[in-house]
């Protein structure tokens, strides 16, 4: 047997050398990282601009709506080819932005996720500047990080008070009399007196949605989980007021605690146990598509205010469009989003009557203020709401929504603390003070301090 040409020591030395080289070359955040820059408006005109873009969108009905709207965009910009794709954005977009491969030119995204990935996105401040004063202040604020705007604001999701008109009439409760959240408790007690089996107010059992709902109530009062500098402000009178109200409502047996539109929820919505659902405009999906026995009996009103004369709505959820810093044709993606969000023709294409929603898209309203005219509806009165003009209710409520602060990158992670503690509060396992103290401590330590 011959002696190995490379001895054990030699091999180890070689391996260590290769390892050292690898360590030197593997450092994260090397020179290959693109620094997001400001995006400039394309100079070519609509008729001369050319190119191809890949656009990611959510699947489902909304994809079909945007598909039809993009077809109209292509008529306006005949040189632009749009590769419109249905993607599980929550699962794929963040990873794609980090890996930098196969990045789309533009994507739909939840407002709550944009702040966390701003460093992977184009700064759109200059492009949005001409429209900034005409866009809902809330949407500008949630898309802003360190003074720069990273998302093209799309929809506005005002909170409304959904209620059973027939039950209120039978109980002698006038919806106009519910002007504050205390009034709502009073009305709920009146209804429960008439029907002891009733638990009139819906509070949600899903921690994520309950935190989103909580932020709607906070937004109504002009506050949010953090201020513009990222400082946590959970320990505030506004949040204390909300938690105390929840404790009062649950303590008085006025609450149906059910997971959003799951069978237990739908059943109690349809059997008269639930009478009030303070929720975003997108709850309109329920009477139109899920509820059977009570279809046509639900109506929408502005949310009650926290103080007399206060704001009658806050935002719950919402989405915008982002342009990744590694997009191949970012200028063309901007043209598309400008068309969909700020041009009458594009907005009409999305919200107006279409083959998917013959009466128009009624699960949100645009965030572009010039089109939010109560007298000029984009979608039609809804039969499943007894023919109510939801557009009028929603646009009037929207006009009262205060601005907010940017949504912190860790918002979704904070559900493990705040969303869970809201659930404990509803179940009577925590007091308002405990929710504030425990959630603030954990969010500060695990999320804010690690930013």
């Amino acid at each position: 047997m011959s002696t190995p040409p490379i001895g054990r020591r030699g091999f180890i030395k070689g391996a260590l050398g290769v390892g050292a080289l690898a360590v030197a070359g593997c450092a994260p955040g090397g020179s290959g990282q693109a620094v997001p820059s400001k995006l400039a408006a394309p100079s070519a005109t609509a008729s001369t601009v050319k190119g191809e873009i890949t656009i990611w969108n959510r699947s489902g009905d909304l994809f079909k709506v945007f598909d039809a709207a993009i077809a109209k965009f292509k008529q306006a910009y005949p040189g632009v080819t749009v590769n419109h794709q249905q993607v599980d954005i929550d699962a794929k977009l963040a990873n794609t932005l980090i890996s930098g491969t196969d990045v789309p030119d533009g994507s739909f995204w939840d407002d709550a996720k944009i702040g966390g990935q701003a460093e992977h996105l184009y700064d759109l401040t200059d492009l949005i500047a001409p429209y900034q004063d005409k866009t809902a202040p809330y949407k500008i604020s949630v898309n802003t990080v360190d003074g720069k705007i990273y998302g093209v604001p799309w929809d506005l999701d005002p909170g409304l008070l959904w209620y059973r008109e027939d039950i209120l009439e039978a109980a002698g409760v006038d919806i106009a009399s519910i002007a504050t959240y205390d009034d709502l408790l009073t009305a709920a007690r009146t209804i429960k007196d008439k029907n002891p089996a009733s638990k009139p107010i819906h509070l949600d059992k899903n921690p994520f949605l309950s935190q989103l709902w909580l932020e709607m109530l906070a937004n109504q009062q002009g506050t949010s989980l953090t201020d513009a500098s990222g400082k946590l402000r959970l320990d505030s009178p506004e949040y204390k007021k909300i938690f105390t109200w929840i404790e009062q409502a649950t303590g008085d047996g006025l609450v149906t605690h059910a997971p959003y539109l799951e069978p237990a929820d739908v059943n109690t919505l349809d059997n008269g146990q639930q009478v009030f659902v303070p929720w975003a405009i997108w709850w309109s999906f329920a009477p139109q598509n899920l509820l059977k026995a009570t279809k046509g009996k639900w109506r929408a009103a502005p949310l009650p205010a926290w103080t007399p004369g206060g704001a009658r709505s806050g935002v719950m959820g919402g989405s915008s469009f982002v342009i990744p810093a590694k997009a191949k044709n970012p200028e063309l993606a901007w043209l598309l989003y400008e068309y969909l969000c700020f041009k009458d023709e594009g907005i009409q294409a999305v919200y107006g009557p279409n083959s998917v929603y013959p009466g128009g898209l009624s699960t949100s309203v645009p965030s572009y203020l010039p089109v939010l005219d109560p007298a000029k509806p984009l979608f039609q009165p809804i039969e499943a709401l007894g023919g109510q003009d939801l557009w009028k209710v929603a646009t009037e409520a929207s006009s009262t929504i205060p601005a907010a602060a940017p949504i912190p990158w860790w918002w979704a992670q904070s559900v493990d603390y705040l969303g869970n503690n809201v659930q404990r509060l509803i179940e009577g396992k925590m007091s308002p003070d405990d929710v504030i103290a425990d959630s603030a401590k954990k969010i500060q330590r695990n999320l804010v301090d690690r930013g």
């Binding site: 040409p5 490379i6 690898a22 966390g116 869970n420 690690r450």
Partner: protein, 289 residues
Amino acid sequence: MRVRTWLTPYVFVSPFFLVFAAFGVYPLIFALQLSFTRWRGAGEATFVGLGNYSYLLSSPDFWASLGNSAVMWVLIVPIQVVAGLGAAVLLANAKLRLRGFFRVAFIAPFVTPLVAMAQVWIVVFDTDYGLVNYLLNLVGLPDVGWLTSTTWSKPTLALLVLWKTTGFAIIILLAGLQAVPGQVYEAASLDGASRWRQFWSLTVPLVRRSIAFLVVVQTLAVFQMFAEPFVVTQGGPYGSTETAGLYLFDHISASDLGTGAANSFLLVLLVFGLSLGAVRLLRPKDGTS
């Protein structure tokens, strides 16, 4: 000429090492470096030394996730070994009628896609409309929050894992059993050993290596468990099914890549220690490894 002679074997083995370096060594070194930094996937990484490790080791959430995984291990692995061994002994019996049918029946859940099974679990164990609570109600028992109470969420999830993976345990143990020579049992019978005695004194010691292998593999699987809680409970209620694997994923999905990398190395160390312990505990007494 001499250079060519000594180089030839290295050229032959180099394809493996190149692929291994690209997809094994490089990610490992990258992740190790990452674990000492704060990096969100873009821009320059900030070196934080052992900051991510000390944060995790002092984090109640990290220990809670390990605790959840440990409870899941207790609920899954011992039961799986016992049930798997029992089923393997039955299936190894040549006199068993419909042996082929039972083999397929036991293995079927193992080859069924997890997400499909998880959806069935969600429906069957639903508090309000699930089949299990319906049956309980029929005999006058109240509803149980199988997936919504902190008491029952882990056992319900463990049951899913048992249902899904016991088939794998049976395959491993059946292979071990079939390697045992039949003469050993004949000799034991001639010496008057009962079936039970044969099981304890022959079967168990002779399949000890298979059991050790199974325990190590399942320990790895339980501490890396991700898909089951992700699909069925999303770690809830109140974090009661937030396993170590899911907790690790939470860092990654939040783009907190440095903490995620540190978490994965701590998990590797833990699983390595546990596996080593299991192998030593189950090592045959004849000294062979």
